[in-house]
Symmetry: C2
Subunit: 231 residues, 2 copies
């Protein structure tokens, strides 16, 4: 995790999300003083579960995963965050320590804002508070929706779900480099590594996708989507 020295001025930050539009010049300057930008390598861990909560993480470029690690060595991936997303959960407001861990899945650039700063702004700027609520709300709802959707699907459906997710939500293209190992793929959806591979091969045999190593091409979008909904 490497600090970036000449960090962007928040006032002119091209990534300034809708969240910060509600802030005045003085408030934006305050954010600027209490933030720090960092660069993390692919695979590098950013937050360890159990650490004290100090910062809000905002993803500028790259891709990160939020996951829970239990003693039993079983990781479960909770969500994959895209650029412009806030990473992490509402936990930030109700807890003193991170409940989950965060790692970079691709090389990523993050903006870290001190929690105290965010809290102050929420307390003093109403529209900002509403924006934060909306933003967090959307993110959490998404995670929950996925979680409950997946629960009603079996293997094939879950795997199709993930393929769709990467094609439509992350890469916005039917061809992409899968940023996860087969193991991580399985951890997103509660399927064993071996079966992830088996089903992917099956999809290939059936002409739904082309796949070689990490590079995936969805050939029959309609069919994959259908499986992700029904199967």
């Amino acid at each position: 995790m490497q600090k970036i020295q000449d960090s962007t001025n928040c006032a002119v930050c091209p990534l300034k999300s809708s969240l910060f539009k509600a802030l005045g010049a003085k408030e934006t300057a305050c954010v600027h003083r209490h933030k720090e930008e960092v660069l993390v390598q692919s695979g590098e861990q950013i937050v360890h579960r159990g650490q004290e909560i100090t910062h809000f993480f905002y993803l500028q470029t790259g891709l990160v995963k939020l996951y829970s690690e239990s003693e039993s060595h079983r990781e479960q991936i909770i969500s994959i965050s895209r650029p412009l997303d806030f990473i992490g959960l509402l936990t930030i407001f109700s807890d003193t320590h991170y409940q989950y861990s965060i790692s970079a899945v691709l090389e990523s650039r993050l903006c870290m804002i001190e929690v105290g700063c965010i809290e102050t702004l929420v307390a003093q700027n109403g529209s900002f508070a509403i924006e934060v609520l909306k933003n967090m709300s959307i993110m959490t709802d998404h995670i929950l929706k996925d979680s409950y959707n997946l629960r009603s699907l079996q293997m094939r459906g879950r795997i199709a779900y993930v393929l769709n997710f990467f094609a439509e939500d992350i890469f916005k293209s039917s061809g992409f480099e899968l940023p996860l190992s087969r193991k991580e793929f399985g951890q997103m959806i509660g399927v064993s590594t071996e079966n992830v591979i088996r089903i992917l091969s099956e999809f290939r045999r059936d002409g739904l996708i082309r796949i070689s190593g990490k590079s995936i091409d969805i050939l029959n979008h309609a069919a994959v989507r259908e499986i992700a909904i029904r199967g």
Copy 2:
């Protein structure tokens, strides 16, 4: 769903949660003007998925379930709310229509506050905004935690989890009347009705619980807890 005429004055409401402590007299009066109290029968549906979002629901007494109903006739119970809980999710801030349905599991008394009113208060009172964030955050985190805990357990563990939940979180007693049918029990944790019954019988044979119809007694608390964690 029956309106209660002489509704409680919020200012002296014994149920006034921590959430509202941040409000001044004028603001509390405003809540009072924009709220309504209702009584619902056990089994009665309170919110239908797809309806426009108009109110915040606050549970005074009773027990309600939040659940998703899909076309395929498969309900999934997302959470059971206890008195003093806000019901529903953050969706309220990010959406215009309810994503999930709400039904009373026991006869319940609810307080319905107009969303507009809450939004205004969040915008004008910073400490209140923080309280809302904390509150929602705790609730959502809980749901998510349960969801991911359950995912790593198999049948026996999940069923023990629910038994614990009712004994410790809801009724605070090792003996209680189960407010759910066997089917609903299964819908909380993604287990078929038949297997819920089978495992409950198994637990009885093993001397972990006493059970007759809806009335349940946990005899060996430690063992049940152990199964809910490991199994």
